[in-house]
Every structure is written in C-alpha cells, then in structure tokens.
C-alpha cells in the first residue's frame, strides 16, 4: 500500500467509523446467509430440464415482466419489513422459515443485504 493510499484508507475508516465496519460485517453476514437460504431458488442459474431460471427468479421474472429485476440481489425497492414479511409468512409455494433456520438477527442481516443498494436508507 502506498503512503497516499494508506492515508486515504485511514481517513475513510476514521470518517466512517466503527459503524461502517459493523455495517460491512453485517452485509457480508447477510450475503452469506442469503447464499445459503435464498439463492438456491432466487439466485441466477438454470432450473431443471427445459426451465431457464431457478424457480424464485422465474416467478419474479414472470410477475414483473422487466418492470423490476427478477433477481432479489438487484432490487433497490424492497423495504426491510417486506423482506422480513416474506421470510416469516412465505408466499405461494415458498414456505415461511422457523427461527431455528433463520433467527431474528440473521434475518436482520439478510434484510440489510437485500436493501443495501436502496437509494434511501431502507426501513
């Protein structure tokens, strides 16, 4: 690391402070949990023979017809509450998840990850 880069790095950490580092940790945790629990249906990739998308991705593709991204990771419009509602209440063939699968803290992390690109802070 060059001296100037180090200075910028230190300045960013100083300005952003521990909260940003914690946020980064929360987002990474959310990403890991999302990959484990959600991506097998909502991620990219093909479905079974003759199906071009995974089932959750295909369902949202057909539902929104391009008005919104089919991949949840590309959405910028979901609220934290919306994510939590779907995880705890399910929708159509997607069942709800017990807290022994995704506990409240883990759900916070998943919701933070899926709302990370929202234009305004998600609530």
């Amino acid at each position: 690391m060059k001296l100037r880069d180090a200075a910028v790095f230190i300045a960013v950490v100083w300005v952003a402070g521990p909260a940003a580092a914690q946020d980064a940790g929360q987002l990474e945790r959310g990403r890991t949990l999302y990959e484990y629990w959600c991506a097998p249906c909502h991620g990219p990739g093909i479905g079974n023979n003759g199906v071009q998308h995974l089932p959750g991705t295909d369902a949202l593709r057909v539902k929104y017809r391009g008005a919104l991204p089919a991949l949840l990771t590309e959405r910028t419009d979901m609220s934290i509450d919306l994510v939590k509602t779907y995880v705890r209440q399910g929708l159509t063939v997607m069942p709800f998840f017990r807290k022994t699968e995704i506990d409240d803290g883990e759900l916070d992390a998943i919701a933070a990850y899926l709302t990370r690109n929202n234009p305004r802070p998600a609530r």
Partner: protein, 539 residues
C-alpha cells in the same frame, strides 16, 4: 393461548415448559405464538380451519443428552412430542405434528456431519444436517464420493430417509432408508439405543453392517413413532469416472410392455441408474384438439387410435431416458448393449444421445447440468412445480402427493392409466392420465404420482382436494395399489387400506407402541399408529 393436547391442563403444560427451559435453557424453548406459528405446515390442506393440526410449543435440543431430557420430562407430564429434522417435508406435513398440541422437537441445530469415510463409502450425520450441508462437507474436502439426494436440497438425509424418501442416482442409493446403515435413537423412555453393529461396544463397523445380531429393528423408526433418531449412517456412491445418458423412443402404445421389461433387465443387472419414462405426446396436448378429444373419450383412446395419432406426427408414444454411471469404456459398451437389446425386442425403436460428463466437474459445468440430482448435486429447482412461471401464471400455495406403489411392468402402467383416467373423470379433475408415466425412484417398483393443489385462502379448494384424495386412495386400494408415504391428514386413511387379516400390521404396531411408549409421547399418529389413549376416540 396454545392448543394443548387433549387431557392436559394449562398448569401441567406450564410446568413441563418450565422443566424444558431448565434442562435446555429458556432460549431453546419456543412458546411465543408468532414463533410457534412458524411450525405450521405451510402446505396444510386444513390451513386456518378449526381442525388444522398445530403445535403447542417447540423445544430445540442441541445434544443427545438434551433430547433424552426432553423425553423424560414429556413422560412425567404426558406431553406428546413430535420430532422434526430440518422440517422441510413439504407435501407430507412440513414441520407440523400429526396431533394438535404436540410439542415439536426441532432437531435443526443438531447439525454435525460426524464422519465421512471416503474409502469405506459412508457418512454419519445428525438430523439437522441438510443435503446441501453434507454435499458441501464432501466438496470442501475434495472427497470422491457422491450423495443421493431428493429434489429439494434443504431436506435432511435423516428426516428424508425416515419418511422413506427417495433420490435419483444409482439403484442401491435411491431408496434412502434402504441405503442407511446404523441408527442412534432416544427411546420413548429416554434410553439411548444404537442399532446394528452400534450395539456392540468397540465395533467400528456401525456404518458397514446394518443387521448386527438379532431382530433388525431399524424399520420401526421409519414412518414410525418408537423413538427420536439422533444419528444415522448412510452409504455413499463412489464418484464415477463418467456419466452418459441416452433416450429410447418406441412407436406404439403396447411397446411399453417390452420397453419396461428391457429396462428392468438393464436396471436390475446394475447396468443403468434411474430410468426416466416419459410420453412425447404430452407436449401436444395443449395444441392438438384431436389428441384432447381422444384423451377425454370415455375409456380413453384405443391402442390403434393413439398409435395412428402418433405416427401421423412422426412421434413416438413412449420414451425412456437411460442413465449410465461408471468407467467411460464400460458405460459406452453398456449403452451399445442396451440399444442392441431394445432394438431386437421392439421394432421401430429409436435412440438418441443425451448429456455426457466426466468427473469431477468444474463449478461452471455443474451449474449447466439440467438435472442436477441425477449427479447427486442438491438444488431447489423442483419448486418450479407450482411456482409462478410462463406455463403457470397462477401459482399454487402448495400441494399434496398421492403416491401409490404399482408393479414394475408395462401392463401395470397401462392399467393404472385406465383406472386413474376413470377416477379423474368421475371427480372432474381433468388431466391426462392416459399419457402419465410413473416415477421410478424405487429400484423394484413404480410410483404413479398425482399432485393435488392446496390453497391458503380458499378452504373449499382444500376440502375438495381432501375428498378427491380419499377417493383415489380407495380406488387405488381396490386395485392393490397402496401409498408409500402420506401427509398427516391422510395417514389413518392410508393405514386403513393396509388391512390384511383384520389390520394385523396396524394391530401389531399398536401392541409394540403400547409396550415401548406406554404414555404415548412420541409422534402420536405417525404412520397411522396411535397410542392407546388416543385410539378410536376423537382427537
């Protein structure tokens, strides 16, 4: 206020919850209404009805000793327990019990892969391990063994095997209960049992010789309620050098009989993995009024009518995908042998090449595999059944499966098509039974699978579904076809069809149940077996 088991006072229930909390820790006892509600069966046909089967609470043990403590406390207070592994047995009850008021024993957090032995070809796992978890464990270590997984990868090898679940690779591994070896079980009195060689202190063959000595009791814990399984061993398939698949197409309806005979030979001689039967005419149903008219005719199409229709469109009537696993030269020779046998037996049979792979696959190659479970790769693609899609603009809320066991012959398939066609007509279910092919998970039998939709907002749909389900169970039983697996709400009905000698099987199981579980605390109603205090009474 939770739904309590019959005969249990609120005071007793509270006392038991207090003891559970003392034994496990308060954070491992689930009592808040909104948290207990997450144990409902998401695919329940009784959703929001007064008789929906719901839990009263849940406990979350993390060790075998905690499971034993839960069972002992439950005995003291006669609390019915219902164990779940990952709780994803959707279509067959999910994470809900068979008896309202039961306390769910949620084993999700007992999730250790205890051993994978690549050289001897077995794994030992706890109930909370999913197929995804076991697969990752093996992949991360670069072990050259395969698992056999069912369609949804989030299921538990233990839970799936205990419900007689099935998979997609080679015959010796697709029957998940059949390919298990050795169990550890907390018995209804809280004692710990190890089956097979696990009963011999010092034995290192627990996952290699399943019978040990004396009666083989493992079967009691599959679709049973004689204990809580806390460890289970499974045999693993060696990673083959290569895979190839080929498609066989036959031109006439009656060719199915010879086709099944030939494919049976290939499978029973271990030359192929799972054969996948299909009907190429299925894709024409939506666009061909003539075909729909034939299928909707009373009694369905004659052989000649179906053959003529197919021939006019240069279509086969049936097809079967053959899958080969092994050394490249061997499977190439086996495919050639299969073609020779079938061509000699069925005039006009045609053959097409399908996918081929050499192992190990790269991550990118794996992603491109269209039927991943055939290579033991767990995934969730099956949920496209019922989810919103181009072909299904109105998604379902869930489903139940009617899954009768029929003989492994072409004659049986054709007869089952005819019978199902009649019952579909009687019940106004629609569908194309005359083109339906069986599921082939089991090595020695076929399953003629029928899905029933569930609706979480319209109870009338669910009532109709249950009435139709009961009717097809009865019709199937009249022909000697019985269910291999059941949603809780149908378990009694299905067990009642296994009625040889005045229900001797059920009565024997009840005798065992009364002896082993006198307080009736373990999974009351599972497999249609009830403890004495709940038999022949409204529940």
């Amino acid at each position: 206020m939770p739904t309590l088991p019959r005969g249990l006072s609120s005071a007793d229930f509270s006392a038991a919850l207090g003891k559970f909390a003392a034994a496990l820790g308060a954070d491992q006892v689930v009592t808040a209404d909104e948290d207990v509600a997450l144990y409902r069966d998401a695919y329940s046909p009784l959703w929001n009805e007064p008789d929906e089967i719901v839990a009263s609470a849940a406990v979350v043990p993390t060790t075998v000793e905690q499971v034993q403590a839960v069972v002992r406390i439950a005995n003291e207070h006669r609390i019915p327990l219902y164990p779940i592994a990952t709780g994803k047995n959707l279509g067959y009850g999910g994470s809900a019990p068979n008896l309202s008021g039961s306390v769910v024993v949620d084993l999700r957090r007992m999730n250790r892969v205890l051993e994978v032995d690549e050289r001897r070809g077995f794994a030992l796992v706890e109930p909370g391990v999913s197929y995804f978890d076991l697969y990752r464990h093996i992949e991360e270590r670069g072990l050259k063994v395969w698992i056999d997984c069912p369609d949804p990868g989030w299921g538990s090898p233990v839970g799936n095997a205990l419900d007689h679940g099935v998979g997609y690779t080679f015959g010796a591994f697709r029957d998940h209960f059949g390919s298990h070896c050795g169990m550890e079980v907390v018995l209804p009195n809280g004692e710990l049992l190890r089956t097979g060689m696990g009963a011999l202190p010092g034995a290192t063959t627990w996952q290699e010789y399943r019978y040990g000595f004396g009666p083989y009791v493992d079967g009691l814990f599959g679709q049973g309620n004689f204990g809580i399984v806390t460890k289970m061993g499974f045999w693993l398939m060696p990673q083959p050098e290569a895979y190839r698949a080929g498609l066989v197409l036959v031109p006439r309806r009656r060719d199915l009989i010879a086709l099944v005979d030939q494919v049976n030979y290939l499978e029973h001689a271990s030359l192929i993995g799972q054969p996948n039967y299909g009907c190429p005419l299925q894709r024409l149903v939506a666009t061909e009024p003539e075909l729909r008219a034939l299928l909707e005719k009373p009694g369905g199409p004659t052989d000649n009518e179906l053959d003529r229709f197919a021939a006019a469109r240069s279509s086969a009537v049936w097809q079967c995908e053959l899958q080969f696993y092994g050394p490249q030269r061997t499977i190439d020779a086996n495919w050639e042998h299969a073609r020779e046998r079938i061509a000699a037996a069925i005039s006009g049979a045609r053959f097409e090449e399908r996918e081929s792979y050499r192992f190990p696959l790269s991550a990118e190659d794996k992603e491109g595999v269209p039927h991943k479970v055939a290579l033991g790769i767990p995934n969730m693609a099956i949920f496209s059944i019922g989810a919103r899609s181009e072909l299904n603009p109105n998604p379902r809320d869930g489903h139940l499966w009617f899954a009768p066991v029929i003989p492994k012959s072409g004659e049986a398939i054709l007869e089952c098509q005819r019978v199902l066609g009649e019952v579909y007509r009687e019940l106004g279910m629609g569908g194309t039974a005359f083109l339906q092919m069986p599921a082939t998970w089991h090595f020695r039998t076929f399953i003629m699978l029928v899905g029933f939709s569930i609706n979480r907002t319209d109870p009338a749909v669910n009532r109709r579904t249950l009435a139709n389900f009961r009717r097809v169970v009865e019709v199937a039983a009249e022909h000697g076809w019985g269910e291999y697996r059941s949603p809780p709400v149908m378990a009694d009905k299905i067990m009642s069809t296994y009625s040889f000698n005045d229900h001797a099987l059920r009565r024997f199981c009840e005798t065992l149940k009364d002896a082993a579980d006198p307080n009736g605390i373990i999974a009351a109603g599972r497999g249609g077996i009830w403890p004495r205090y709940l038999r022949d009474t409204p529940r």
